[in-house]
């Protein structure tokens, strides 16, 4: 009798075999409290020893927005309408994307000890890092609305559109974080190049520029921005928050498609390598 037959006779299963996608997601759902607690604890711990504590969650993006606003406000001749608000919204939301992708990329390799000592669906880790970024974003959004009001934007009902936008945007970011997490496991060098990629995206997603103004000589490029998920997310936010800014409503559809594709694709891509994550080599 071989070992496999013997195992089958007593109903023993092979250890470490990757579960089916459905049961994998079920297991991950069972660990949702862990993901949330991990995110909250990390966020808390990361700021605990600073004197200003959690205030840094708000101060850092504020200073970023101030710096970019000042530099690009001076450099640009044809600024978008209501430029300070434009920049504040752009920087704040883009930070959520950068943070998710960066911390997602490190979520497996940076937690090697955890991955090698406890068994749980690994997808919990990149998701926890996106949750952590989301928890950072929420107080920042509150402050963002205050800045917008100080800068002369009138509060209105369409501000609530930020909620569905955040849901879709979080789905997109989660998908991207999952892809980056697996890529980093295969090629560690990816974390070296990732800041460059996010920096390039920062300058090509209309965070600081009005795309139609800068590129009005190249209508083809402007058309391409109609399918740029980050640009669309920023434009929808601006259209909902700012005074007198419009955005085409089909942006919602395109962004949702992006988000679903990123999340489903990212999940499957991440799950496919589940057996690989604990390996030491």
């Amino acid at each position: 009798m071989t070992a496999a037959e013997y195992a089958a006779q007593y109903g023993l299963k092979r250890v470490g075999a990757r579960p089916s996608l459905v049961s994998y997601l079920k297991q991950a759902w069972a660990r949702r409290d862990f993901a949330f607690e991990l995110a909250r604890s990390r966020l808390h711990a990361s700021n605990q020893r600073n004197r200003l504590g959690m205030l840094w969650v708000v101060i850092k993006p504020t200073m970023n927005a101030l710096m970019y606003g000042a530099i690009f406000g001076l450099l640009q001749t044809s600024k978008p309408h209501d430029f300070p608000v434009y920049v504040v919204i752009g920087v704040c939301l883009f930070e959520f994307f950068t943070g998710s992708v960066n911390s997602g990329a490190k979520s497996i390799t940076g937690n090697a000890a955890l991955v090698q000592s406890l068994s749980f669906p690994r997808i919990t880790l990149p998701i926890a890092s996106v949750i952590q970024q989301f928890l950072t974003l929420v107080p920042m959004l509150g402050v963002m609305f205050i800045y917008c009001m100080i800068l002369g934007t009138t509060p209105k009902l369409s501000w609530l559109m930020i909620i569905p936008l955040l849901i879709i945007f979080t789905m997109f970011n989660t998908g991207m974080a999952l892809v980056c997490a697996r890529l980093t496991v295969h090629v560690r060098d990816f974390t070296q190049i990732l800041p460059l990629i996010t920096r390039i995206l920062f300058y090509t997603s209309g965070v600081l520029f009005g795309v139609d103004r800068i590129l009005n000589a190249f209508p083809v490029l402007v058309r391409m921005f109609d399918f740029h998920p980050l640009y669309q997310a920023l434009q929808i936010a601006r259209g909902s928050i700012m005074n007198g800014v419009e955005y085409p409503s089909f942006y919602w559809i395109v962004l949702s498609v992006w988000a679903v594709v990123a999340l489903v694709g990212g999940t499957i891509y991440f799950w496919a390598a589940e057996e690989r994550y604990g390996r030491v080599d």
Binding site: M1, T2, G11, R14, V15, E37, S117, L118, S119, D281
Partner: protein, 287 residues
């Protein structure tokens, strides 16, 4: 005989197969791993079956030499040799219900790798492990965050082990008491002494009932008194749980706790049997 001009070739054995150093450790011809057929005890229920298990690591060996040769190496591409470490070489055994199995062997003999493979955290290159439920390692330290209080870490560690919040709230007191940290549980873990945090980690990890448990030298935590208590706790877990693997260098705790011992040397199963016999043979060999 080819003349050797470039010693770097020696570092990468793949370039010159014939220069590959002899395997440092010979596989004993009579080792149980060399015969494929396994013996099964039909009267008992198997819990873990390890079938001809091989584990290999591919590591970049950065055996750079110093001086001019080192500089030369920098200029050459693809001299960075990939070395394969064959950590476990064809280990097979069956663990039955209610056994406590000690795993012994010198440093680097592949004990921990074998245990990690049994839990499914490391993928085998060949062979497979079958188990009735997923074997767990006793250990939770990696999930804890030093900047958080002991109390919050109990929550985090418990969730990492797969409990839900309510269960942890019920166990919180027991864990604190067992770790003897009642006065300090609200302080950040980084302020704990190493013994205190080891106690907390052990208490969290030991709160879970496991069907198949692997303890990797965890008995050596804390002072003599806590050691006694943790050994007692392990025994309790062992009685309630099915099967336990204990990896240790302390022959005394192996003899105290285990009724069967597996001796691994250089990735090969040297001996498998009754505790006393194997430990005696191991001691004799070490002299």
């Amino acid at each position: 005989m080819v003349e050797l001009t470039n010693f770097d070739d020696l570092i990468n054995p793949r370039l010159h197969g014939r220069f590959e150093p002899e395997p440092v450790y010979d596989v004993p011809a009579d080792s149980p791993s060399s015969n494929q057929s396994m013996e099964f005890d039909e009267t008992r229920t198997p819990v873990v079956i390890v079938d001809n298990l091989h584990v290999k690591y591919q590591v970049y060996s950065s055996g750079k030499s110093v001086g001019a040769a080192g500089a030369k190496r920098l200029l050459q591409s693809s001299t960075r040799g990939i070395r394969e470490v064959h950590a476990v070489k064809g280990v097979s055994f069956v663990a039955y219900e209610n056994e406590s199995i000690g795993v012994i062997g010198s440093n680097g003999s592949g004990k921990s790798t074998l245990m990690r493979t049994i839990t499914g955290l490391t993928t085998p290159a060949e062979g497979s492990v079958y188990a009735s439920s997923r074997p767990n390692m006793l250990g939770v330290g990696a999930a804890l965050i030093p900047d958080l209080s002991g109390d919050k870490n109990i929550m985090l560690g418990g969730l990492a082990l797969g409990y839900d919040r309510q269960e942890i709230n019920e166990m919180r007191e027991d864990i604190t008491k067992f770790a003897e940290l009642e006065e300090f549980i609200d302080l950040p873990m980084r302020t704990y002494s190493s013994g205190m945090s080891a106690r907390l980690k052990f208490a969290i990890a030991a709160s879970k009932q496991h069907d198949i448990l692997i303890v990797d030298e965890a008995l050596a935590v804390g002072d003599a008194r806590f050691r006694k208590r943790s050994e007692a706790k392990i025994r309790e877990i062992r009685e309630n749980a099915g099967t336990i693997f204990l990896v240790s260098h302390s022959m005394n705790s192996i003899l105290d706790t285990c009724n069967r011992v597996i001796w691994i040397e250089k990735g090969v199963l040297m001996m498998d049997g009754d505790s006393k016999t194997v430990v005696d043979a191991y001691k004799a060999k070490k002299k």
